[in-house]
């Protein structure tokens, strides 16, 4: 019901929206919850387990009941708290967890079986028979229980992440936060003031109070205007600080456009901020405690502070006749505000013997012992000094006191401390370094106290920054928080709820103790108390109190469970923001990329690089046809391949030779300028890390190549070796992978193609195998290397990247003139397997030089990384799995990488395992299926026949062991 002349809503504008298909209207300034209440809707959802009718309980992000699905289709978001969702035109909301409808929920049958469905019920009941769990019990339980549904469509929303840096982060913009921001802002510090609501003010917007002689909301507006004037203060509304992390980093969730009806295409829905700050003020306020009295969960029963929010901030009342139940003066403040708004106060129920008087019935030494009303509250049963009474009321406001919102102070493992005076947990100072608690979050509840707390906390935070706090005279404000006591529980018939979101009652907690789960963490897990999306914000402390009572311990001795981030539920989408498409992994593109795409080459990822898989020719329908043709083309004529992706590291200095001797297992310092050498690097544990060639361009100038995949790892390794082991060596190196476009020209006609592009033609004699040198192409400096990864006569020609695309086109045109053309990764792989050349399929991190047959490369004359460990007997034992070649006995059945090797007559079981396959291919050259793999004592077993089994791919074929070099073992073709 809308109240006249109250609230911070714009009545001149009507916003149509829908709830469960009903068309309703609200106003700008409304939340979905306040708009529903204004339309007389109290029933907003069904509870998790018992499907009890539920209405809104709070006016903040701690709301346990009023969870909605917002939107439809792919953009639907479940479990949105109606108290946080701002109303916009066309908003579409649906209630959750009922079947078939909210008012006629057949699953409410669960409620009738409640005596059997208490905590522990599932553990005990659905144990037998075992096979029923997956087929019957779990599907049935999942159908009946739960919250919102997820859409299975891809999330079309634009999420964002961002970084922010400041000197002081003020968390919460109530009286304490505003005061802290004002003081720190005046001191000149860089301040971020983050607040969950759409506008700063906190409870100053919801109470009928005066600050500095004017209505509190007017003081808020003036303060906000002052802060807006300060360039060093940044106000972030709709931003929930969700976590405190190491080193002064805080996570925060900003709802950027969830409140907008029309969202511009580029505007993110929300943003996850990582805020790095030197100090922070925790001004998050406090959350009101419910009281666990029988049947305390009906729609219409809500927190007293929330009721004042609805009346004063939103100009709406959830009913006409209000009853109040509280053990403190807050209830009486609520009664005054309700009367002021024209509502009837049917009674104030206070357990104290002399509660404050008012112009309404006051029941002293009184308790609520029961409630009535199926889909909403109708009647409150009171037991008081004067006996049993029944009060007709459609709203019951409850206050069991307040819990400081101290969650963030516990995010680094610190526990809160119990304050006996206010009977509440308060933040432990220093629990998060640099975080200072203030105001209600620190257990100070009156407005004047909160303003003073903000000033004090800002002073402490500024001291951390080494800044003196400026003078600021505190404004006058209400200084009486009212007296009060705590009432946790009213004993009586009927269930009394603690955790409304997970349907945990006082009986469940007592049951946990009876079952022996009497520690706080055990009780939590047994009952699921506090484990719903709201993480028990308004129920955990009550549950602790019941647990303490049931175990005869104090609350302080009982302790709390650990509060962990996030403080409020976070959408997965915003945590993954920025990690879609190119944000997931950069795409590194070669100079020939566009040309490869133009030829229809499918691209494959190699590390971050994209490389062509094969180049389909007209009429070819499978990759194998293209691959086989490309292999024959290289063996028979000439092929061109973009090898720019190989890591290139340029090294300079007088000590490069010494440095390379230390990082490579074989020797390099004696390599002559103009020559190239193949090398292997080991890890310090003696296993092979990477291989590649290094060219000595001149006396002090070298270029190392690494495999594409290991380039980053090798660079990190070289940096470590240089900085940690050889810091005084005169050697410097940098990656030049991106500076050079490099193309392999391979095949019997390679020299012919090469000479068409070189400014001065060369010959195989002038550039012998494993030579390198400077050449010129189109007048530009270029580098020529006579190296081969195909086993053919081959060159690699490197030109500056900017002319790479141009040279690629030229080389292809020339190669085609000699019956050649481009070849892709598939052909490259077949060519190297035919030659037994290694890749990281073989150098997979668990193989040694000995395993790979490269043991003779390990230098005896010098120390190098991995030397000591590589000499361990176990790493050169004859029984180790050694690199071998394998040829299929069948022309039809291929060998598969990942398959395992067994003796021909052995069962293909783990105990009989003799080795495994790492690379396989159809060799168009040999016209056989071939493979590389590792076999126990393999070098001594050439000629042996084995059984090769791949259980995953259903391959079971006989093969013969041979030398890993299938083709041209003497290397005559490439020399």
């Amino acid at each position: 019901m809308r109240l006249p002349n109250r609230g911070r809503i714009d009545r001149s504008v009507s916003l149509p929206f829908s709830f469960d298909g009903r068309l309703l209207t609200g106003h700008p300034g409304d939340t979905l919850a306040s708009a529903l209440l204004a339309n007389g809707i109290r029933l907003m959802g069904r509870s998790f387990k018992y499907h009890r009718p539920r209405g809104v309980m709070t006016a903040g992000s701690e709301e346990p009941n009023a969870l909605m699905e917002i939107g439809s289709g792919a953009t639907m978001v479940p479990n949105v708290r109606a108290t946080v969702q701002e109303l916009y035109e066309g908003l579409e909301a649906h209630s959750q967890n009922h079947w078939p409808s909210l008012s006629a929920d057949l699953l409410a049958l669960n409620d009738l079986f409640a005596p059997f469905l208490g905590a522990g019920f599932y553990y005990k009941t659905f144990m037998w028979p075992r096979s029923f769990w997956e087929r019957l019990y779990e599907p049935a339980i999942r159908h009946a229980a739960g919250l919102g549904r997820l859409t299975t469509d891809p999330d079309p929303a634009r999420h964002e992440k961002a970084f922010a840096h400041c000197d002081l982060l003020v968390i919460g913009a109530g009286p304490a936060g505003l005061s802290a921001a004002l003081v720190a802002g005046k001191a000149g510090a860089d301040v971020i003031l983050a607040d969950e609501s759409n506008e700063p003010g906190g409870r100053l917007l919801t109470e009928q109070e005066y600050v500095d002689g004017e209505p509190a909301a007017r003081w808020v507006a003036a303060t906000r205007a002052r802060l807006a004037q300060m360039d060093n203060v940044r106000i972030m509304p709709r931003t929930t600080v969700t976590g405190a992390y190491d080193g002064g980093v805080y996570g925060a969730h900003e709802r950027v456009s969830e409140h907008l009806a029309a969202r511009p295409r580029d505007l993110p829905l929300d943003c996850f901020w990582r805020i790095t700050t030197r100090a922070a003020v925790l001004a998050t306020g406090a959350i009101e405690r419910p009281i666990a009295f029988p049947e305390n969960d009906r729609p219409g029963i809500m927190m007293a502070g929330a009721l004042r929010s609805y009346v004063n901030r939103y100009g709406v009342s959830p009913g006409r006749k209000v009853a109040l139940f509280a053990y403190n003066d807050d209830a009486h403040r609520t009664a005054r505000d309700m009367q002021d708004a024209g509502m009837e106060v049917a009674g104030v129920i206070d357990p104290r013997s002399e509660p404050p008087e008012g112009d309404y019935p006051v029941f002293s030494e009184a308790r609520v012992v029961a409630t009535r009303g199926r889909h909403g509250l109708r009647q409150v049963q009171v037991q008081s000094k004067g006996g049993a009474t029944s009060i007709a009321a459609d709203v019951l406001a409850v206050s069991g006191g307040w819990n400081p919102s101290l969650h963030l102070s516990c995010h680094m493992g610190g526990r809160p401390q119990w304050n006996e005076t206010i009977e509440a947990f308060v933040p432990r100072p220093g629990a998060v370094p640099g975080l200072v608690a203030a105001g209600a979050a620190n257990g100070v509840y009156d407005t004047a106290g909160c303003l003073a707390e903000g000033k004090r906390a800002a002073g402490e935070a500024l001291a951390i920054l080494g800044v003196t706090a400026p003078d600021w005279v505190l404004p006058e404000a209400e200084s009486d928080a009212g007296s009060g006591r705590t009432l946790w529980l009213v004993e009586g018939k009927g269930r009394a709820w603690l955790d409304f979101q997970n349907d945990v009652t006082t009986k469940d907690v007592k049951g946990a103790v009876q079952e022996g789960y009497d520690g706080v963490e055990y009780m939590k897990r047994y009952t699921t108390q506090g484990m719903a999306p709201d993480q028990g914000k308004n129920s955990n402390v009550n549950a602790l109190a019941i647990l303490a009572d049931a175990t005869g311990r104090s609350i302080a001795a009982t302790g709390t469970t650990i509060y962990r981030p996030p403080y409020a539920p976070l959408p997965i989408g915003v945590l993954g923001a920025g990690a879609q498409s190119k944000g997931f992994a950069p795409e590194r593109l070669t100079p020939s990329h566009a040309a490869c795409l133009a030829r229809g080459a499918p691209m494959v990822e190699a590390g971050l690089w994209y490389r062509p898989s094969y180049f389909p020719a007209p009429g070819e329908t499978t990759w194998r046809e293209s691959c086989d043709r490309e292999v024959r083309m290289v063996r028979g004529a000439v092929g061109i391949c973009d090898v720019s992706t190989l890591g290139k590291i340029e090294l300079q200095g007088p000590d490069v030779g010494l440095f390379l001797d230390f990082v490579y297992a074989n020797g390099f310092s004696k390599l002559k300028p103009g020559r190239v050498r193949y090398g292997i690097m080991l890890r310090e544990d003696g296993h092979v890390m990477d291989d590649g060639t290094t060219a000595r361009l001149s006396e002090n100038h070298w270029v190392m190549t690494t495999t594409t995949a290991a380039a980053g790892q090798v660079m990190a390794h070289l940096e470590m070796v240089q900085q940690c082991f050889l810091p005084r060596a005169r050697v410097r190196f940098t990656s030049t992978t991106d500076s050079w476009a490099q193309f392999a020209i391979a095949g019997p006609r390679a020299l012919d193609v090469l000479n068409t592009v070189l400014d001065s033609p060369t010959s195989a004699e002038r550039v012998p195998f494993m030579a390198c040198g400077a050449v010129r192409v189109g007048g530009m400096e270029a580098r020529l290397f006579r190296i081969s990864f195909s086993g053919e006569l081959a060159f690699e020609l490197a030109v500056p990247t900017r002319v790479g695309a141009s040279l690629w086109r030229l080389l292809l045109a020339q190669a085609e003139g000699f019956g050649g053309g481009p070849y892709g990764m598939e052909a490259l792989n077949v060519l190297r397997i035919e030659k037994g050349f290694l890749t990281h399929a073989e150098m997979h991190g668990r193989t040694t030089a000995f395993d790979l047959g490269l043991q003779n490369m390990l230098s005896r004359r010098k120390d190098f990384i991995g030397k000591a460990a590589s000499t361990r007997p176990g790493l050169r034992d004859e029984g180790r799995e050694q690199l071998v070649g394998l040829v299929s006995r069948s022309r039809e059945t291929g060998l598969s990488a990942g398959a395992h090797l067994f003796a021909a007559d052995a069962a293909p079981e783990r105990l009989n395992d003799q080795g495994y396959v790492t690379s396989s291919a159809w060799s168009p050259t040999l016209e056989r299926h071939i493979a590389l793999g590792f076999l126990r004592n393999g070098r001594a077993r050439h000629g042996e026949r084995l059984r090769l089994v791949d259980h995953l791919r259903g391959v079971d074929v006989n093969c013969e062991v041979c030398d890993p070099v299938f083709l041209d073992p003497e290397g005559g073709r490439m020399r």
Partner: protein
């Protein structure tokens, strides 16, 4: 978590890669014997409290750092260039 790089100032964790204990800096000689090498390669203390670790500022300046960190509180108490305490 922030690491105070001596060259770049305090930087976010994502720019760094850890490499384990800083004992890696004290590499034995090639003839030190299998026991010493086994200890160097495989045996590590697991301190509850102050620790010294090697980190690489790979997405930053490229320096290898010795980072002093308390494993109980995650507090980073200092960082210096590894080359300052490295061998010959």
């Amino acid at each position: 978590m922030l690491i105070p790089c001596p060259l770049c100032g305090a930087r976010e964790l994502r720019e760094f890669t850890p490499k384990g204990s800083a004992v890696t800096l004290h590499r034995p000689g090639e003839d030190a014997g299998p026991e010493v090498w086994h200890d160097y390669l495989h045996l590590r203390d697991n301190p509850a409290g102050p620790s010294r670790e090697l980190w690489w500022h790979g997405a930053g300046c490229g320096a290898w750092l010795v980072v002093e960190r308390n494993t109980l509180t995650h507090e980073v108490t200092g960082a210096h260039l590894a080359e300052e305490e490295a061998g010959p």
